[in-house]
Symmetry: C2
Subunit: 131 residues, 2 copies
């Protein structure tokens, strides 16, 4: 479950995301890794799929991008709903966790009989530096 048992491709993709610390699209990752021998989108998407499964990487649905989890290891998903504040000016993205929001959404959806599987909370705006 640790980063050491990643395959070569997975490690390369994960490193690219960690180095960036701003969200990257799959194709941006592909371009970064051409020097390492990457040649096709699928190499990136396959690695991303595994990394997301492990909780090492998050997908930002509203910007078609990926970002390394702000928490080392895969413990991330246990501290409440995960949300992101994405600066549209500089790309800087803040991951946050919020139990209150999680509980309120659960309560609301529970009433309606809706069973959540994946919750997306993404706020686009301007970060403190760019505002």
């Amino acid at each position: 479950m640790k980063t050491q048992d990643l395959t070569r491709n997975q490690s390369l993709v994960f490193s690219a995301l960690n180095d960036a610390k701003t969200p990257l699209t799959a194709y941006a990752i592909l371009d970064e890794l051409r020097g390492e021998g990457f040649r096709a989108p699928l190499q990136v998407y396959r690695a991303l799929e595994k990394l997301v499964e492990r909780g090492l990487v998050h997908r930002l649905e509203s910007v078609n991008s990926f970002i390394a989890c702000a928490h080392e290891g895969a413990s991330c998903c246990k501290h409440g709903l995960t949300g992101f504040a994405i600066c549209t000016a500089c790309g800087n993205t803040m991951e946050f966790h919020h139990h209150g929001v999680e509980h309120q959404l659960e309560a609301l959806l529970g009433e309606k009989g809706f069973k959540p599987e994946k919750t997306v909370v993404e706020i686009r705006g301007l970060c403190a530096n760019c505002a």
Copy 2:
């Protein structure tokens, strides 16, 4: 600001979404409207852009789709944060509004100096019928 001053293309797209009452992709709308003379994606995207501006249609970012606003008219965006619960089995999508969640997110982001512009809350899962 009412639906009557929509152009022909905008009306057709809006009707398609209202009839569906499940989210539609831009290309699905295009296919529905070929009988009305639509020939290119841009005709749909241009209409959608205006409809979203007016608050008559929402874009669901996590599924690349669009849905008619559940509230007639454009008053929708005044009653708190807008969220969606999207059933991955039947496509049925419930629009909801939640002041509590809105305030908690505002508080959290305010602390960090982040200025929200667009907030995405989309929960995918199973609706009461499909669970």
